[in-house]
């Protein structure tokens, strides 16, 4: 790699050519503050509009200060990162930003997690010398995401995520100058837009301008209602991230402590969405094999590839953007909705209580799940299969509200019968996991043989688009994996144009899969956090005694005692769904 010599703050350094001044400085231990800049290394996500001007530095020979985030190092460059001129400019710009920011820090949903506050504090802002008109725009709500444009600092991270990474095209800046605002088209609410509620805008927002809709009060109310039986399911990715909210290293698994905390919060039964993930594999895997068989037998009415359907933002995406292709994804409901449907029928019957007296709460890494649970097709007579969805962040707040120190709790086990899961189920939380879980089951059912090795390394990783060919005893099963909706779009366009050669494709909306979901603890631009969460899930899978969904004894008994067989009539009624044309 070519190197250049630069002088930063009077010290010479050799750094790689092509680096930005910001990256180069950080490599040599000079942490220039930045605000709008965000870079998730290795997964091609970068936001550097050069808009906030907080990271400006002085470069000898340049007339003006330059933003270090978008200035490349040059040989012989002399850089000052903390001259009087730089510090004064940085502080002044920060004061300007704060002069148009509501002083609601104490009650802000982002309190303690706000990057604006962190940088303002670093710059030692104690007084605002400039004041004047403030932006005063109405807030926007939706089933999942709350927008407060008055707290927006126009870093444009959300816009970059929504347009470049996800290619959803919902959020964009409109108007000019002081009146610039990031909004869905025509100032509509998110619900009346192409928003998929993937929540990636929330995941990257540095301030409280984009946050989740907090529904923890509903849970507290249900838990305090003596007429209700309240049960909870926890998605696989939650256990790999919740610990971060309590000071643990990223990648710390807190499954047992999470179960203990939920029990202490007062939930009557603590179940696992992983159980429903195993159920999903049974249904989706069976559907895959049926479609594959038909296809191989020459049935032209059968469509391949089959696409996974467990990610609700992905479902929204193709309903909005590719409604003509809505017969391609699997009809299997997501694990959350399968759990809800089983809980309010099978489990309510076991408890001999009425559906209306059972409250199903989900803990999800996701914001789109809030939207999904409210879809009309997942309700019976106005009673939803899932009553409330809390994100990982909301759960952490609820635990703190109830004075529980997660770290001091003992590890506890999930309740039965909806708490037993396999290693396959836990993989649902990461990109590549659903398809790996499906392959484990489909292989054994299709070939009638036992898999020699359960880990499919070729399906793992963080590349946005991946592919692998699995030998199904002579049949080459071609598998595609996409995470991030922009990558999903590429997959879909290939299918539409006939270029796709896959039999099955796994799609997850969020970069990294559910571990990087919009409801997870904020990563603040550190991609290694996502990688550590991913490793944690693989570790959990490896530690499980049973690692194939079809071997989950409670799944076997659920089919035996209730559903009959995968894709039976009852399974269709409770575990499958249909999609809508939502094209604008």
């Amino acid at each position: 790699m070519k190197e250049v010599t630069i002088t930063i703050d009077n010290t010479k350094h050799s750094v790689a050519k092509g680096l930005t001044v910001l990256d180069a400085a950080r490599q040599v231990g000079i942490d220039i503050p930045s605000l709008c800049f965000m870079k998730l290394h290795d997964i091609n996500i970068e936001n550097k509009p050069g808009g906030c001007r907080i990271c400006v530095v002085e470069v000898k020979g340049r007339k003006n200060l330059v933003p270090s985030c978008c200035t490349e190092v040059e040989d012989g460059m002399e850089i000052q990162t903390h001259s009087m001129r730089v510090i004064n400019a940085r502080r002044t710009v920060m004061e300007l930003i704060l002069s148009d920011h509501p002083a609601e820090c104490l009650t802000c949903a982002k309190a303690g997690d706000c990057e604006l506050q962190v940088v303002a504090d670093r710059l030692g802002i104690r007084e605002l010398h400039y004041e004047g008109e403030k932006t005063h725009l109405p807030k926007g709500n939706s089933p999942a995401i709350s927008r407060d444009p008055n707290k927006c600092i126009l870093c444009r991270r959300c816009e970059m995520m929504c347009n470049e990474v996800q290619t959803v095209g919902c959020l964009g800046a409109v108007n000019r100058g002081f009146h610039s605002v990031v909004t869905p088209a025509f100032g509509n609410d998110l619900i009346n837009s192409v928003c998929t509620f993937c929540g990636q805008c929330v995941a990257v927002c540095p301030t409280g301008a984009l946050t989740e809709i907090d529904e923890s009060a509903k849970v507290v109310r249900a838990l305090n209602d003596p007429t209700k039986t309240v049960i909870v399911q926890t998605a696989p990715a939650v256990r790999a991230a919740l610990g971060e909210e309590f000071g643990n290293e990223p990648g710390t698994l807190v499954t047992g402590k999470m179960v203990a905390a939920l029990r202490r919060l007062g939930f009557h039964y603590v179940f696992d969405t992983d159980f429903a993930a195993d159920l999903t594999i049974m249904e989706e895997g069976t559907e895959l094999l049926r479609r594959l068989k038909g296809y191989l037998a020459g049935d032209t009415s059968v469509k391949l590839p089959i696409l996974t359907s467990c990610c609700p933002a992905w479902v929204n995406f193709f309903e909005h953007q590719f409604p003509d292709m809505r017969d391609i994804p699997s009809t299997a409901r997501s694990p959350q909705q399968m759990f809800g449907a089983i809980a309010k029928t099978y489990f309510a019957d076991l408890l001999k209580i009425e559906r209306k007296d059972l409250v199903v709460v989900s803990i999800m890494p996701c914001l789109a799940k809030k939207y999904e649970r409210a879809r009309p097709e997942f309700q019976q007579n106005g009673n939803p299969d899932v009553d409330v969805v809390l994100s990982t962040r909301e759960l952490a707040r609820l635990i703190k509200l109830c004075n529980i120190d997660l770290n001091q709790l003992p590890d506890e086990e999930f309740d039965q019968p909806l708490g037993e899961s396999t290693g396959a189920g836990v993989l649902f939380g990461t990109t590549g996991g659903v398809i790996e879980a499906a392959v484990r089951t489909a292989y054994e059912i299709h070939t009638g043989k036992e898999l020699p090795k359960l880990e499919f390394e070729e399906l793992r990783g963080m590349e946005g688009l991946r592919e692998a060919t699995i030998d199904f005893d002579g049949l080459d099963l071609k598998i595609g994996i996409a995470h991030g909706l922009g990558n999903a779009r590429r997959m879909l366009e290939d299918i539409r144009s006939g270029k796709s050669h896959f039999h099955a494709i796994e799609i997850m909306s969020c970069p990294g899969g559910c571990i990087g979901g919009g409801g997870q603890p904020y990563h603040h631009g550190h991609v290694e956090i996502l990688k550590k969460r991913q490793l944690a899930l693989y570790k959990e899978d490896g530690s499980k005694k049973i690692r194939k969904s079809h071997e989950n004894p409670y799944i076997v008994s659920l089919y035996k005692n209730f559903l009959g067989a995968p894709m039976s009539n009852l399974a269709h009624l409770l575990l499958h769904t249909h999609y809508f044309d939502k094209k604008y």
């Binding site: 001007r53 003006n64 600092i153 009146h179």
Partner: protein, 583 residues
Amino acid sequence: MENTIIKFAMGTCGIASGTQDILNLFDKELSRLNYPASLVKTGCMGHCYAEPTISITLPGKDAVYFGNVNEERARDIIDHFLLKGDHTEGIIPPEGDFSRKQLKIALRNCGEIDPENIQEYIDREGYKALMKCLTKKPEKVIAEIKDSGLRGRGGGGFSTGLKWEITRKSKSDVKYVVCNADEGDPGAFMDRSVLEGDPHSVIEAMIICGYSIGSNNGLVYIRAEYPLAISRLKTALNQAREQGFLGENILHSGFSFDIEIRYGAGAFVCGEETALIHSMEGMRGEPTFKPPYPSVSGYMGKPTCVNNVETLANIATIIRNGAEWFSSIGTATSKGTKVFALAGKIKRTGLIEVPMGTTLREIIFEIGGGIKGIKKFKAAQTGGPSGGCLSEQYLDTPIDYEHLLEAGSMMGSGGMIVLDEDDCMVSMAKFYLEFSIDESCGKCAPCRLGNKRLHEMLVKITDGKGTMADLQKIKDLSVVIKDTSLCGLGQTSPNPVLSTLNQFHDEYVAHIEERNCSAHQCKELIHYVILPDKCTGCTVCFRNCPVEAIYGDKGEVHSILDHQCIKCGICLSKCKFNAIIIN
């Protein structure tokens, strides 16, 4: 016998002032009289102060210009000048002050030819430069432009030849030539006039640029509010294609080039080249940080050479007459001429072109004929919202890129607004800042918020609520906005404030400490008062006041309720007894 040629200045401004009616009248009358004349629609002749303007060339004679040609004067011209050969009112003297100091290179054909007739352009050596270039090596053409010393006329003043050279050296399968016709400074209309009056000069230059840098694609980015310029440009493009100057294998040279038009929605910031490119790409018109410069990575990520209309209008003449000729005009660092849109409190407003190095005094007092009425010159505003004001002390400064910068202003694209003692300099700064606030794209914080806060402090001062501490804050903030903004808009937007603060400091202080606006423009600082000894109680003021702020019985002395008065000034203008004054 040759026909008499009568030309009608029909740029947008000429048409707006009624030149079409005058042309119709000439057409009708001369047909009736069977008078042999060719009537030609041209672009702007530059005499904004005397529209409608026409020129008449009798066979074998020089052209005679007539200004303020209304119906009556038109009939007079026909009856006396054309039919009898007598002297007629309204003649603009050809060697008058307005023309003498001017040198027309970019405007060489404006007002002289029919922009919708390519033959007239060709007859005046049009497309000869292109033919010459096509026989030369591209590097030679670039060297000629570099040697000429031509610098960008859009405001930046970067060497045009160097820009071409960098774009030529950028390796790519596709490159673009972009003509920046997104003229947006308040009071500026140079580019519009060139495109309306001589579109081929721009087209020819774009083809030459394409040949030089190795591009086959030209784009004109023009604001959609310039419909006449667009329609004439379209006509010119079609005619150039028909004649083989545009399209495949131009003049059998093997070189192909064509030009498309892209419309802008009138955002000032889209004159900044990266914002312009984003707008053409269908994105929000916002600048991005340079480098990379468009000459390396521009439209669709390809090397793109962006040149302003006026810059391009110089090219063909440079090629025809040589770099040496061009560089003999102007000053040491600024070669050639500059077009200015001369406006404001001046006798002769107009579109003028002067050699670089001409002084402000020559422009204002000779070409412009000095200040209107009996008022005193106060300042000249150049460079629009990015520029500054030049007070009397700079009247003898030679105008070129460097001197204007030194004086705290800038060349900008060539707007020049002359101010007299009735203009308040604080309000002037406020006006330009308001413009910058409206036109800021909002992307970077110092421009989006800093200009807003600056403006609010200026409002405080013009409202009589300012403090001396505000002045220091204004200065400090201005420096940071200039130092940290993303693009040229923010980097220059505080200039009108800093330059007025620098040159008219006392006026700011008077607003703050004495609550006094000597130009009587700051409404919060002035009070209308009725002088009891002069008021006759005629009730005219009382009856005309739109907000019932005046009371008094007929025959009695009237009074004004200051808190109700909106300072509209109607009473003052209506009072026949000079009984109302501004305090």
